[in-house]
Symmetry: C2
Subunit: 475 residues, 2 copies
Amino acid sequence: MLKTAEHLYLQIADKLELLISKEVLKTGDKLPSVRTMSEEQGVSMSTAFQAYYHLEGKGLIESRPKSGYYVIFCARRLPDMPQKCEAVKKPEEVTVHDMISKMFVQASNNEILKFSSAVPLASLLPTAKLSKAMIQAMRNTDAAGLGYESTQGNENLRRQIARMSILWGGAVSEEDIITTSGCIDALHLCLSATTQPGDTIAIESPAYFGTLQLAESLGLKVLEVPTHPATGVDLEYLDKAIPRFKIKACVFVTNFNNPLGACMPDSHKQELVRLLEKYDIPLIEDDIYGDMYFGKERPSVCKTFDKSGLVLLCNSFSKALAPGFRVGWTLPGRYKDKVLQLKRTRSISCASLPGAAIAHFLENDRYEHHLRNTRKALHTQYLRHLQAVTDYFPEDICITRPQGGFVLWIELNQKINTFELYDQALKHKVSFAPGRIFSLQERYGNCLRISYGNPWSKQVEDGIKTIGRLIKKMS
Amino acid sequence: MLKTAEHLYLQIADKLELLISKEVLKTGDKLPSVRTMSEEQGVSMSTAFQAYYHLEGKGLIESRPKSGYYVIFCARRLPDMPQKCEAVKKPEEVTVHDMISKMFVQASNNEILKFSSAVPLASLLPTAKLSKAMIQAMRNTDAAGLGYESTQGNENLRRQIARMSILWGGAVSEEDIITTSGCIDALHLCLSATTQPGDTIAIESPAYFGTLQLAESLGLKVLEVPTHPATGVDLEYLDKAIPRFKIKACVFVTNFNNPLGACMPDSHKQELVRLLEKYDIPLIEDDIYGDMYFGKERPSVCKTFDKSGLVLLCNSFSKALAPGFRVGWTLPGRYKDKVLQLKRTRSISCASLPGAAIAHFLENDRYEHHLRNTRKALHTQYLRHLQAVTDYFPEDICITRPQGGFVLWIELNQKINTFELYDQALKHKVSFAPGRIFSLQERYGNCLRISYGNPWSKQVEDGIKTIGRLIKKMS
């Protein structure tokens, strides 16, 4: 019964959302009262209320005291999405960006309102439950976690990860999984296992700057592949580029990538796996945002379609649960032995207790509940931020429409240098990620990435207003 | 007063130890009664008793019920120390040893009596106190440790490490220190920061196999430097080898190295630092055994004498406190920025709670107390293992005399292949580390490393007896 009721309110909410997006209902329009809605739709008052509550959570409507619900969101005014970038002439040696270090230094300054880091605020994290899980881990782990765990990692944790693989269409066993110290450690191990210094790898463009730095630290060259803000890397281009540039491995974020928010459709993922097989090269698939979808279900991964073990899937619990626990994992396919050997060589094993604590948390089915709340909060925050950027930034901008993840990518007028804007914004105690650090080419100098990990507040709105004002001043 | 009394009993114990080592007192000799000793030395009965108790703890004498104390240790019968190895013709590309993987697989088999791992048994670790420190860490760390800590690492932990630097003659600040995930992570970061793939580094011979694997994973060549079992690397040879083989960095364990147990005298350390300056190359100094000395005080490190920042000191709390916490650190001198950048790129930060817990433990001065007990236990275990190897192995062997650390290195008759011996021993559920894995040359095939990390017991004695019997059968 409950199930049907839940279904009903979502049906109503979806219909209303459609009307709002088609501008049948416009910003400022008053919605029918809860009673009217309940009568018109033949549902209970409570179901009608739930539908409105849901839309309010998404930032589409607002309740005004003693008046009712009003549309506050308007689709038409939203700027266009950016286009995918042009192809480059050749792969680039990787050089380090001082700006990245600067951003990390700012990261510990609590006086700055940060739109710069793709991390959820502590208020979204299940602090008390994880502390409890940690105490449980101390009780249940051999020698209270003082001893080395096996190099492959906590068995219970691997079992829980295997159990959850069904969500992305996998059916793996704990034996296939190796735990790591966060996702970046997984990427590092997988890149080390599949490449030699001097090799060229393919990455998205714009790409997460951490991947650029990792490639540099391993002496790799990178080819930036044109990437569409909705559907991900250009596969036609990739098909030609792999033989032409002797690509040895790909590193792609296939779901809600950073910074574009692109999510490859299943058909693209299948096609990509076919390309990997055609050229017999591995894909290091970073799925760190895959659980943070706004839609009805979790997107698949390339690993879902991988029969030949060429996909090394990497993930962590840093985005949804506990960045500071540094618990990640990889499913390295046919590279398992190599990755395991590298992990043993470089770290012997992971810290015992953080992994054991996360395993306890997962075991008790708290994770799915927590993820549901996080996704809902992120979706609302996405819509609010999108609307605010639309309201306060100049009209000649483009914005991405991520269907998950943590970040918006905004293209400004070509005249605006977001490096300069960044320095200006810092003086006003607001930070974002300037576009230039997401590429090794002289690109994206007029772009910026804004994280919507911060819960919506007057302060956040003012921060976006400030950035918008500074842009207008520079125009 | 207590201080003087403590001093007194040690003075008496030292005198007796000297008499035993000079064989004035021989195995089986009865010592004067506690009362006689107290009268002869003009000390209290309690002081005399303490002296005997101390020597008993060291395995030099034993108390026989209703009879008194007897000498059970005899210096004369001990085999010779091994010689340092011959110099090699050229550096070697690093190749991986399957045997190492095999050892690590055995490591999780609890049915095997392991003389193979240089790790103290859980019984020596302060489990309850560290669990308490962990709970304290959860209470006192921002967001219960769920958030990222700074890339440089927990500030309190760095402060405690800086405070303790006085023990090895340092006077560093927390700003000089970077925390890492165990010592091997520190070595990895420091090697990455100071070398390029294809470079040649100098290491000891025999060398810790983990260092060989690390070098391989980074595409480095290694030159094995002849190393004396008491005084460490041959500096005269090194002086010629650095320019000849274009050595880019040295990786040495200067105190109680693994597997020889060599401890460089201060004069050698100073000379080594002079060589580094002469050729302007860095030393990655692994001091992981430095706190585990049997003598009166902690040995210095090369870092003690380093004015130019060429020494990157690496250490961890894995040997004395909690291997499974993976908490280590480095003092990377002039390479600090590079190491910090690499750490950020490869792991963002360490797990927050393990480091915070160790900091709490250190803060409360529990560490020195714990180390005192560990050192005492290890010293006793060393003497018992040494004596048992002498008793049960053939007479034509050489054994090292480490003055600290966890391991004995034993040279058998050239005819014995310790790889074969290892397989034989495994069948009897006993393991050790075969000598061959400590070199890339075809060397040390007749050597083995035995850890005395296991507390002395009938089972341990039987294990050594078994290995001895197998050797005699192979002779």
